[in-house]
Amino acid sequence: MTAEVSKNKSLYAALAVTRLGLGAQPGEIAAVSADPQAWLMNQITAQGAAPYRPDMPTSAARFTQFAALRASRRMRAAEAAKAAGGVKSAPDPVTEIGALIRQDAGLDFLSRIEFAAATKSGFAERWALFWSNHFTVSALKPQAATLIGPFEQEAIRPHVFGRFEDMLVASTTHPAMLLYLDQAQSIGPNSRAATFFARRGGGSGVPRGLNENLAREILELHTVGVEAGYSQADVTEFARALTGWSLAGPNMPDREGQFLFRANAHEPGVRTLLGRRYAENGFFQAREVLHDLAANPHTAQHLATKIARHFVSDTPPESLVTQLRAAYLSTGGNLGEVARTLVLARETWDPEPAKFKTPYEFLVSSARLGGGFGVRPGRLGPTLAALGQRPFAAPSPKGWPDEASAWADGDALVKRMSWSEAFAARTYGAFATDARDPLTLADAALGPRLSPAAAQAISRAETRTEGLAILLMSPEFLRR
């Protein structure tokens, strides 16, 4: 092998590991340089992405636990009211629910970020994180918070290299999504349930009726996107078709927290959506809509654009989008084939880094290099929050933004700088006899992507700690 070819292999390895993966562990670039594309292709498997917390309770178990705690809170509140002015009551249940969320969702999140720091399959993990963000469920809705981990492991990760339609259906029928986007309580205005409530009269407190939130976001965010030009009428029709898609509550102990089609809540009748008629068919009416949405060319375009933007550039080459779109359409929406197309596309391998890491990616890539986060697990959440990316708490159903302009701002950079210094101090502090020179670490982190300017700044550092902080804050490490 000539020196030239060997250097190229090393550059491709660095791009595979840092751009398509989650950053290099020491030695990883060297190992991958034997065949960078094979390293990526081998991670595309029909089983999808591995679970990051194999012992995680199911969504049904989490829902049941949460519902029970809320019920006991209500009961205790009633008792306390009865004994008004009486003795001081048990621990504040609101705080208890908060603690439960922090404990369960917190452990899920920590498992995920530690898995990302340790995995040998960085590409599969990035690909899975992309789809979790595509189907965002956010802890800003407390009822959904403890279900996010189960949602990712049950509905997203098994399907990330399978058919998109399967992931779409799994997401749309999952309790986390049904609760997050208010679908669980949506009731057809002419359904038997609505008639029953109307006859019984008000009084029960919570009013019930149609909620179009999930229908709107499926169209706008999950499938065809706004470019498809659907109307308010399409949204409402889809919402009507989706009525009845709900989950079982505590009155059905053997199925509590699982998907349930409530025929009584389903709006009867034919629906017309994006120019197609859907006959009344209970659950299968909306199921058929999802099938058509998954096959819609607008969905292919929307997904191809998002994938290219996430993996390659904020302004992705049109030629790449076209290849990904074609791969999707010609395989019936097989995401494994889309991933293979991405790996093989020439545009994916542009040596110029065009993506600025999100805070999550920045922390994970630092930890992969340093051999751990080096902090108490409890500190990671607040750190990410300060950097603008609170764990499991994307600001809206649109998920976290993917463009440099959303992350590379003055305040965010200053905070990353502080974190880098502290991280470097801890990393070297933990290995007091560590002989690793920061320049050696820089080579391990970036391979040929390391620029002469950054290498010089690192070599001139006064301390190893300062050198590592410079590496983490170098333009090429902040990007991928």
Binding site: V94, I101, G106, L140, R390, P395, A408, G410, M417, P475
Partner: protein, 433 residues
């Protein structure tokens, strides 16, 4: 009353300690020789704020029937609206805004909307911030283009209270950003080394320089605020990430607890931003976001989810008012949202995406007066597409009136560059005293 005003020398000293070039800060500080300039704060309320709860038209005959369980009770009732006139009140959580209104320093625009009619958060926020008539028509924001139109010689600077600048402030004119939280220790060489390393990086170079300058100023300012606050009350820590808020936002009871905890932080953000703006060489224009107004379910009435968010907004405004001190007389604050919500309560005790909403305009520079824009009423025939408050005022007209009369932006620039092709939405008269 500006105990936390920081001097230019002070700011320079702390900036120097960070390795920020003297030239960078010096030029800006000199460009604005006084803090006598008019100030503008734009609060972007994200998620689609329910105007019919912000300024409930409790005197409108159709209001109670449309709103049912989420109607704000009438004047004088428990949890009732705070009276503005015979028709309108303010949400009971907006006590500070109401105090200002009673002094002629707060008014409402109850049926205002951007040109967007699509009811998508992302498109509507885009239009609210990009200043164009359609989403994605511009990658820069109208507030930034307004600064550009004023020209560099004006010395007007802007700041975003966010880890990253929102679209409204993106654009050719450099903008600082700031969030509460700690920065680097000032005795490190790293900031200077990185500035050298970023010298040719068009993204990271300017961003780091702004971040360091702002951080230096905020440290001085918030140290003063912290002393002030410590003297008056006990509150929780200022660290932005210290509270896992999601954990405690469970139901209406928790909402009240969250409101109690969130409000002091909001007031503190207002105080610190005010201190930054009052400092010599500080920004005259600021943009702040308040989120989570997307109340599809269980939005509540006098208390509940929406009330919690309005408590936060009220505390933010209170902090600004208090912190700006005598500068308040030269200040306008505009609080606006991407769209309003359906006039009818939905099936889940909330409201869905709608059209017109309420904008609040506040400040010592505000001209005393009544409603801004007309009230279309809520009678069935007046509703937009039989579901939403009908817009009677173009959001761009309000912003253009403010920019022209308060900051002195040229009319032609307003019609063509700041709000492209917006001659049909002329600047609103009578906003500025």
């Amino acid at each position: 009353m500006t105990p936390w005003r920081i001097t230019r020398r002070h700011a320079l000293a702390s900036a120097l300690a960070f390795g920020v070039s003297v030239e960078f800060l010096g030029r800006q500080a000199l460009a604005d020789p006084s803090s006598q300039a008019n100030k503008l704060v734009v609060i972007v309320c994200r998620g689609g704020q329910d105007g019919l709860s912000v300024s409930p038209p409790v005197g409108d005959p159709a209001y109670a029937a449309l709103r049912k369980s989420i109607a704000i009770p009438g004047f004088g009732a428990p949890g009732g609206a705070l009276k503005l006139d015979d028709t309108f009140g303010l949400h009971p959580a907006l006590t500070h805004v109401h105090d200002l209104a009673m002094q002629g320093q707060a008014r409402i625009a109850p049926a205002i909307a951007t040109p967007d009619r699509e009811r998508s958060h992302f498109e509507a926020q885009d239009v609210l911030e990009n200043g164009a008539a359609t989403p994605y028509a511009s990658a820069t924001g109208w507030l930034n283009r307004a600064l550009t139109a004023l020209g560099p010689q004006s010395g007007v600077k802007a700041i975003a209270v966010a880890a990253t600048a929102p679209l409204i402030l993106k654009g050719p004119t450099p903008v600082e950003s700031w969030t509460p939280g700690g920065g680097p220790e000032p005795d490190h060489r790293l900031p200077g080394i990185l500035q050298d390393l970023y010298a040719k990086d068009p993204l990271l170079g300017p961003a780091l320089a702004e971040g360091l300058t702002t951080d230096a100023m905020a440290r001085s300012a918030s140290a003063s605020v912290a002393r002030e606050m410590a003297a008056s009350e006990t509150t929780d820590s200022m660290a932005l990430g210290s509270a896992s808020d999601a954990g405690d936002m469970t139901g209406a009871n928790a909402a009240a607890a969250f409101a109690r905890r969130g409000a002091p932080e909001a007031r503190k953000i207002g105080l610190t931003l005010a201190a930054l703006m009052s400092a010599r060489g500080g920004p005259q224009v600021a943009a702040v976001s308040v989120e989570n107004f997307d109340t599809h379910a269980n939005q509540g009435a006098a208390t509940g989810q929406l009330a919690t968010r309005l408590t936060y907004l009220d505390a933010l405004i209170e902090g600004l008012h208090e912190g700006l001190g005598q500068d308040w007389a030269r200040t306008l604050v505009v609080s606006a949202t991407e769209f309003g919500r359906t006039a009818r309560v939905n099936g889940t005790g909330g409201t869905d995406h709608g059209t017109a909403s309420t904008a609040l305009v506040l400040g010592g520079a505000l001209r005393r007066g009544g409603l801004i824009g007309d009230w279309p009423t809520l009678q069935a025939s007046a509703l937009f597409e039989n579901r939403d408050t009908r817009p009677t005022l173009d959001m761009r007209s309000l912003f253009k009136g403010v920019l022209r009369d308060h900051l002195g932006v040229d009319r032609r620039a307003l019609d063509t560059v700041v709000f492209p092709e917006s001659a049909s939405a002329p600047p609103l008269n009578g906003i500025v005293a």
